[in-house]
């Protein structure tokens, strides 16, 4: 009874704490400017089904695709059993679904075991890719101690959780064979059945192992749930809304700033009355609040896989720019802004900004806007739009473009071409051979 109460209290607390932190992330995301992504809902559902559920963009790299899919499928399917664990934990039952599901139950438990082994193997391989093979994609200036540890903590936790799950089943299986009354004959143990010889034979010891693993498994899951909001691993939730709210336009289409349209129209036509619903605000983005909520959601969705950076032409030729860093900086700055709000109220400000304190001008000016990063991202994150919005701030608020770009702009203004040619010579090519 004490254990049941403890279990219920811990679960309730874990869910409460998670909701609280998830709520803060939601609040932080909504600090962003508004952008309308409520259109074309069927196309959006399709994108989410394909990109998030089907993980189609992962397939570009087959090895991680297969193992990642295994972890993803394992995570979702094995979590069906968490429902049973929660009921068992709260009511003191054991394998409560077994009598209800009969043969299907055995099939399910058997399948979970194969998945658990798959997840275990995949995590070991991923761990090795990061720490032994040392894939280039997982290094870089932004991959400091914390992001590296974050990835490893997740993998180690999953390896331990899956180990506990299989050892628990092995102990359970052995207890069933000993006909201990609490351990009803249920389940199929194709993998853990191979482990029984490693376990002691006395019922007491087995029960201790079974219970320890059971508690480790469920407490591990609850702890993991509460780790995720602090981690890059939050993508397991946000990948779905983030792909739903994807940019569905051609990648080459940059937004036309409505605030600018109003000013330009007013300049060209003095009788023009601007749309009053557009708040004047800052041109472009200096800090995270100047970005849209979708760009901020992108930042929390990023799992730092580095596919963007590994295809970025600037990064691949040694420039400072790394699209992954753009996303990580945006999230880190947003987290900082959020903590400041928690501490000092919703109007709290500090003397920092995303620009300069996190992202340098050199990074922004290295971008070729080639869209390789957006193409590569498995969850449709758009680092390019952040770069462009920050360039807009630099150019329109600070007039701080590199001097050669200022010359280009002056040429367009005066000659209608980015180079210093007379507009009257534009058709001269028709006169020569």
């Amino acid at each position: 009874m004490v254990l049941q109460i403890l279990f219920i209290a811990l679960t309730a607390f874990a869910v409460y704490w998670f909701s609280k932190n998830a709520g803060k992330i939601r609040r932080n995301i909504l600090l962003g400017r508004d952008i309308d992504r409520s259109d074309r809902s069927s196309e959006r559902w399709m994108t989410m089904v394909k990109v998030a559920f089907g993980q189609t963009k992962m397939a570009a790299r087959p090895v991680p695709f297969i193992f990642h899919f295994l972890i993803y499928a394992g995570f979702i399917i094995i979590n069906l059993e968490v429902l049973e664990i929660i009921i068992d934990g709260a009511f003191g039952t054991h394998r409560v679904f077994a009598p209800l599901l009969g043969g299907l139950y055995n099939f399910l438990i058997g399948s979970f075991e194969f998945l658990a082994l798959g997840v275990w193997l995949a995590c070991v391989i991923f761990f090795a890719r990061r720490n032994i093979v040392k894939l280039k994609r997982f290094s870089g200036t932004e991959m400091t101690a914390w992001p590296k540890s974050d990835a490893n903590y997740i993998l180690i936790t999953e390896i331990l959780l899956m180990s506990a799950f299989l050892i628990m089943n092995a102990a359970d299986f052995k207890l069933q064979q000993l006909n201990i009354s609490h351990y009803i004959q249920a389940g199929a143990f194709p993998i853990s059945g191979l482990l029984v010889n490693l376990l002691p034979s006395d019922a007491h010891g087995l029960e201790l192992i079974e219970r320890s693993c059971w508690w480790f498994h469920i407490l591990g899951i609850l702890a993991f749930l509460n780790y995720v909001p602090y981690s890059k691993h939050f993508h397991i939730f946000l990948a779905f809304p983030n792909t739903y709210f994807s940019n569905l336009e051609a990648k080459g289409r940059f937004t036309n700033m409505t605030s600018v349209t109003n000013e330009v129209k007013a300049m060209l036509d003095p009788s023009f009355v601007p749309d009053a619903s557009v708040a004047p605000g800052r041109f472009g983005a200096k800090d995270v609040q100047d970005l849209t909520w979708k760009q901020l959601m992108d930042a929390y969705t990023c799992t730092e896989c580095g596919r963007c950076t590994s295809v970025c032409p600037a990064n691949q030729t040694g420039k400072l720019l790394s699209p992954r860093k753009i996303m990580m900086d945006t999230r880190d700055r947003l987290t900082e802004v959020g903590l400041n709000i928690d501490k000092n109220g919703k109007d709290a400000t500090d003397d920092k900004a995303l620009l300069d304190n996190y992202i340098s001008r050199e990074e922004l000016w290295a971008c070729t806007s080639c869209n390789a990063c957006t193409e590569a991202c498995p969850v449709n994150i758009d680092p390019l739009s952040i770069i462009v919005d920050m360039r807009r701030y630099l150019v329109m608020e600070e007039s701080a473009a590199p001097s050669s770009l200022n010359a280009m702009q002056t040429n367009i203004e005066t000659n209608g071409a980015p180079w210093k040619f007379s507009p009257s010579d534009r058709a001269n090519w028709t006169q020569s051979n």
Partner: protein
């Protein structure tokens, strides 16, 4: 040019309306190398007897480089004055010589009041081939030549045009050798995002050198592309490796014009 390239103003004066407006672009108008591509596109249009016109001195920068650099004001100023000209001439269809003009006119002008059917010259050429109006005949033979194609970002990834240029090349009996990074994985030439107009930021290598190194690794006779900025970057890269005497950098339009004996 041994034929007259009509302007919209002249057409209007004669009370005529062209089927298609040829948007030349700033590089195509002023850059010496790109002018050759422009002329070949005009020759192709003239050869197939398409009713076309250019804006001539009424054309102005689409505003693309200003927009990519972050100057939305300048972009929209350019866009709105261009739209005014285009709408005054009641333009319905535009072919561009440059993927950057193509992208801007096609994707960014509609919201500002400019609604046109916009195609890139590789799409037009492919269309003309499909209609039987253009063949690969009466000109230079590309049979057996190794041609590799560099996808311009603003044609490929930005707008999904991957097949048109390849289908044009497929007409030539040449050997199309794909680069390791091609189509949606294509590597930028280094000129996009207004980089064309500035020095690159500090790094270990220039992007065009990286790209041309990759292209040279497939031992091509010709590196083909379809963007005047890519043309500059790739040509410079080929010169960097001192291969300009053995490897040609050509636009799809130039290859088409040569194959048809037009240039």
């Amino acid at each position: 040019m041994d034929f007259k390239v009509p302007t919209m103003a002249e057409m209007m004066a004669k009370g005529e309306q062209p089927d298609i407006l040829f948007w030349v672009g700033c590089a195509g108008s002023f850059d010496e190398r790109a002018q050759k591509i422009t002329k070949d596109i005009a020759k192709i249009l003239n050869h197939v007897g398409l009713k076309y016109a250019i804006l001539g001195t009424e054309e102005s920068c689409t505003g693309d480089p200003a927009k990519r650099a972050g100057n939305e004001f300048l972009f929209q100023m350019q866009a709105m004055s261009n739209i005014e000209v285009l709408n005054a001439y009641e333009i319905k269809k535009i072919v561009t010589a440059c993927p950057h003009c193509f992208n801007t006119l096609k994707n960014e002008y509609p919201e500002l009041g400019g609604h046109y059917e916009v195609i890139h010259h590789t799409e037009l050429i492919q269309d003309l081939i499909n209609q039987g109006k253009l063949a690969a005949s009466n000109g230079e033979s590309f049979k057996g030549k190794r041609i590799t194609y560099h996808d311009p970002c603003y044609l490929g990834r930005a707008n999904g045009v991957y097949e048109a240029p390849r289908e044009v090349l497929a007409q030539l009996d040449s050997e199309l050798v794909e680069l390791k990074r091609c189509k949606s994985n294509g590597l930028c030439c280094g000129a996009g995002g207004a980089q064309m107009f500035k020095e690159p930021e500090n790094g270990t290598k220039d992007i065009n050198v990286e790209r041309v190194e990759e292209a040279l690794s497939v031992n091509p006779d010709i590196i083909a592309s379809s963007c005047p900025f890519c043309m500059t970057m790739l040509s410079d890269g080929v010169k960097h490796f001192e291969k300009e005497n053995t490897v040609q950098v050509l636009d799809i339009a130039e290859i088409t014009a040569k194959a048809n004996g037009l240039s």
